[in-house]
């Protein structure tokens, strides 16, 4: 119970609720902080405000009916969650996917990753007091939303993948506007670096702040850019390649110390790597069907399965137990933000309240993903 937490208060320490409606928490997250002056003594992230019970819903729905749920967990990287789910079920049921569909999925998932990172970039800098980059990022991000809207029909909660392929084929205009976008974003890097990366106020707010090293990441199960900022080149796209990621040439950016600045740099470089993947995929995009004929109801064989993909925030996985019927017996989504958020209980104590904003921002959590 939360009130057990309220032990006798000494003269120096007091409690502060940050959230659940604080602008820097990016969703309904409550940070219960025990403070000694401006310093944090204890931090307890309180989650669950957005718990919708996706895992329970799965147990009474057909595999197909769960499709829209998958993209509603992490609404900023919905397509990656969607891709992971269909790929998991395809692997269970042994459904072959036409090559064109795989390319389309990768192009869209990588565009989604860029849009997620762009939103993180804008809001993180805004949390630190810089409003201008936010407007630039949203301008760029709007391009991606338009591109994906054209092909999937939605701006955020994409339910674009289908078992055995995707819902619609790409057209020439999609390819053309994506290529235009790649050039546009590349021309922006200089602006971003001039506006933010070289800004001395930003550097002071991010350097040596909220250090998460390999050991801490291992204890808390942190993955994604946080882990890579600590110097571990662990990326599911490389470690256990899924879809067609093994065919592309891309690097895994890593940091050295694992502070907020490293996490910032890693994400910025990751956007460029995603652009490279999209570019290669557009060049190699094969002709052919975009969707295979699959049975009306998918019935994976009995047993349990795990399928991991790299979401914008780290290692995402679906653990599915099948009882041989067309309904999942148990579906668990291992979401990256869960461990990434929990590490705050270790990182925040000893830091200043003002740094909390910087640390929380640099970790890049999406609360509905934590709550599911």
């Amino acid at each position: 119970m939360a009130n057990e937490f309220l032990e006798p208060i000494t003269e120096q320490t007091f409690y502060l609720n940050m959230g659940p409606q604080h602008p820097s928490t990016h969703g309904v997250l409550r940070l219960f902080l025990k403070l000694d002056g401006e310093y944090i003594v204890e931090a307890d992230p309180i989650i669950g405000y957005g718990h919708r019970g996706h895992e329970k819903m799965a147990e009474s729905h057909l595999y197909e009916q769960f499709l829209p749920n998958s993209s509603r967990m992490d609404y900023l990287a919905g397509l990656i969650f969607n891709h992971g789910y269909v790929a998991a079920v395809e692997k269970m049921a042994g459904i072959a996917v036409p090559p064109r569909a795989e390319y389309i999925r990768v192009i869209c998932a990588e565009l989604n990753r860029i849009s997620s990172h762009l939103l993180w970039f804008g809001t993180y800098i805004m949390d630190l007091g810089g409003f201008t980059p936010f407007l630039y990022c949203f301008d760029d991000r709007e391009n991606i939303l338009d591109i994906l809207d054209r092909v999937s029909g939605s701006r955020l909660t994409y339910s674009y993948c289908r078992f055995g392929g995707v819902a619609r084929d790409l057209d020439d205009e999609f390819i053309e506007s994506t290529r235009k976008f790649i050039d546009r974003l590349r021309s922006r890097w200089n602006d971003y670096h001039n506006l933010v990366t070289k800004n001395v106020i930003f550097i002071h707010r991010a350097k040596d702040v909220g250090v998460i090293n390999r050991e801490l990441a291992l204890r808390f199960g942190c993955t994604g850019p946080i882990l890579r900022a600590a110097g571990v080149a662990y990326d599911i796209r490389r470690a256990e390649p899924y879809s067609i990621y093994s065919e592309f040439d891309f690097e895994i950016p890593t940091g050295t110390t694992g502070d907020a600045l490293d996490r910032y740099m890693v994400r910025l470089q990751e956007m460029e790597q995603s652009l490279r993947i999209v570019e290669q995929a557009l060049d190699k995009l094969p002709e052919g069907p975009f969707r295979a004929a699959v049975p009306h109801k998918v019935r994976p064989p009995k047993g349990d399965y795990y399928f991991a993909v790299e979401s914008a925030r780290g290692a995402l996985g679906y653990y599915i137990v099948s009882d041989g019927t067309s309904y999942p017996y148990r579906l668990k989504a291992r979401v990256p933000s869960y461990g990434n958020l929990q590490v705050l209980t270790d990182v925040l104590p000893g830091t200043l309240v003002a740094d909390t904003i910087s640390i929380l921002g640099s970790i890049d959590i999406v609360v509905p993903e934590v709550d599911r």
């Binding site: 329970k56 990441a217 349990d304 009882d323 309904y327 017996y329 668990k332 291992r334 461990g339 209980t345």
Partner: protein, 157 residues
Amino acid sequence: MSLEDLKEELSKVVEPANIRSRQHEKDGFFLEVEAKAKEVEALAKAALEADCFLESITAADFTEGVQIIYQFNSFSSVSRTLVRVQLARDESVPTISSIYDAALWYEREVFDLYGIRFDNHPDLRRILLPEDADFHPLLKDYGKVHAFRSTEEIYGE
């Protein structure tokens, strides 16, 4: 550390007969360990010794009781290992939160959704549901589910 090393570490704490290789290509796992509740702590220590991180703790409800599923993996070489602990109704399991901090929240989640108690957990309170909830929603006797089966029906030959 390679998969063989991990297998060796694990076989020090459980019967080697209970460790089974799986096909990663097919179902995503390399190893599967069938363990008893009292072996969990030693298994977690062995996994940490092999430089693994705790990927997740979850559970599934079967007619004979809740099954706890631990998942370990490594940053350096993929070696996803599944540890199954089948509990009887009302049986509890020791916490591994003193070994892996990640378990603090994962165990709270399993407690919240399944009502399983983790012995010696320092802070076992609800995490996703409101603190005054009086149900554990992922149990199969709660709400709408399609089926309630035994482990034999799903994992049996």
